[in-house]
């Protein structure tokens, strides 16, 4: 369970968002520039809110009264829009990075399962520079999952891919729902959100304008944005 109630001024733009995300997939849905990425950056700890609080599974991550857990102690997986694999490491080293940094014991079974789910076994010895966009994004998802996160943030994980690559990755994302890690899925793509999300949080101009099931995305949205 994630509880977010934050305010952050970014130049002329202010994000003031309040919502709760239960287990399952919660989508932050809204147009580009509406502040969705800023919100997940605050959840991850990469951006510090001006005011408010963030709780994850009962643990206080941030409170303007004086709590601010640094990102490396939050145990929150983050899949960025642009992958951000480490170019100087192999795919296998990228996948193992979170486990090493969090000093988790090596769980060969978990690793083998995730490698299988994402179908990246044949890439392990390669370097990110030699991967296609879709392969890179699958490795990024695996890397975030292998740190055994309490919560997985996915920021427009398909946005940098062309239509064919999107169709390639989407089934993997759907399979992730079975991994039992709660997910926050950021997207401006109505069709994507309708298919994957159990809860939808609509964001506009830095504010939450509606929370509900996928029915709150109407066909007009799907036409306009999809």
């Amino acid at each position: 369970m994630l509880i977010v109630d934050v305010e952050k001024r970014l130049g002329e733009f202010t994000v003031a968002a309040k919502f709760e995300a239960a287990d399952g997939v919660t989508a932050l849905f809204g147009p580009s520039g509406s502040g969705k990425t800023s919100i997940v950056n605050m959840v991850a700890g990469l951006v510090t809110p001006d005011r408010g609080r963030i709780l994850c599974n009962g643990t206080l991550l941030f409170d303007s009264a004086g709590v601010n857990l640094p990102p490396h102690r939050r145990h929150i997986g983050y899949v960025f829009q642009d992958g951000r694999l480490f170019p100087h490491m192999t795919v296998a080293q990228n996948l193992d990075y979170g486990r090493r940094m969090y000093r988790l014991t090596h769980d060969a079974a978990a690793q083998a399962r995730i490698v299988k789910v994402l179908d990246i076994g044949h890439l392990l010895a390669r370097r990110p520079g030699k991967l296609s966009g879709g392969e890179r994004q699958r490795v990024a998802i695996g890397r975030a999952l292998l740190l055994q996160p309490l919560l997985l943030l996915l920021d427009e994980p398909l946005a940098s891919l062309d239509a064919a690559r999107k169709r390639e990755i989407f089934p993997y994302l759907m399979r992730l729902r079975d991994e039992a890690v709660p997910m926050i899925y950021v997207s401006h793509h109505a069709a994507e959100v309708k298919r994957i999300a159990s809860t939808v949080v609509r964001i506009e101009d830095g504010r939450v304008i509606g929370v509900g099931g996928s029915e709150i995305i109407d066909t007009a949205d799907a036409d306009a944005l999809g």
Binding site: L46, H75, F86, H88, Y97, M101, K130, L147
Partner: protein, 231 residues
């Protein structure tokens, strides 16, 4: 083939030792300062930046004189280091290494700073979300990605140290076998009749060493580059 006399060999080997020690000892300080300048905003940053670059623009003799005042036997820092750690600089090769390190420092910091600035901060963010503390972000992401620039900085510093003349001779004089580097030896030979031949030999050696340093740094940086971005 030409051969060097024992005295000339002494000057060459001493130069190499002084330049190598100066570069290796300056490196950790150079990386720390370069990182601060590249990634942090703090009060007095412009001042630190200016101080680091000062040896580049000051007359070397002035730098040597300041070293003499501060690091000489009666200097504030010099007497402290001598009494506490037994490290003596004045008229020793260690003093020459200090002078060379100070003169090469701006070049070292500059190259490393540029390469750290070129490391994508988004990768550092990714590493933080994967559980890396700031120190481990630096060691596992920033440093390896900045490696080509670090190598370039070390070669520049080494080359500068090898050719340093003014600050060294002012600080620790020109003592054969102790502080007389290739440059100082060439200068000395040119002051005496018949010194042209040994001076010419040392000039050739200086050119060869500089070429080797340049070519090997190019090769190392290229290797580091392909390791980072290719196969």
């Amino acid at each position: 083939m030409f051969s060097l006399t024992p005295d000339e060999w002494t000057a060459v080997l001493l130069s190499l030792r002084i330049a190598a020690v100066a570069t290796v000892v300056a490196l950790p300080f150079g990386i720390a300062i370069a990182w601060l300048l590249a990634r942090k905003d703090f009060w007095g940053k412009a001042l630190v930046d200016g101080l680091v670059h000062l040896p580049l623009v000051l007359p070397p003799v002035v730098t040597g004189y300041l070293l003499l005042i501060w690091f000489g036997r009666r200097g504030v820092i010099g007497s402290f280091l001598a009494d506490t750690f037994g490290i003596v600089f004045s008229f020793r090769w260690t003093g020459a290494a200090l002078a060379c390190g100070v003169m090469g420092f701006p070049l070292l910091v500059r190259a490393i700073r540029l390469s750290i600035e070129a490391v994508d901060a988004k990768l550092e963010d990714a590493s933080r979300t994967l559980g890396a503390s700031p120190f481990r972000v630096f060691v596992t992401v920033t440093l390896p990605l900045a490696l080509p620039g670090i190598i370039a900085g070390m070669v520049l510093c080494f080359a500068k140290a090898l050719g340093e003349f003014g600050a060294t001779i002012t600080f620790v004089s020109n003592i054969p076998g102790e502080t007389q580097t290739i440059s100082a030896a060439i200068y000395t030979y040119l002051q005496v009749p018949g010194g042209d031949a040994p001076a010419a030999r040392l000039v050739i050696v200086a050119i060869i060493i500089s070429l080797i340093a340049l070519v090997s740094s190019e090769w190392l940086a290229r290797r580091a580059g392909t390791r980072l971005h290719g196969g």
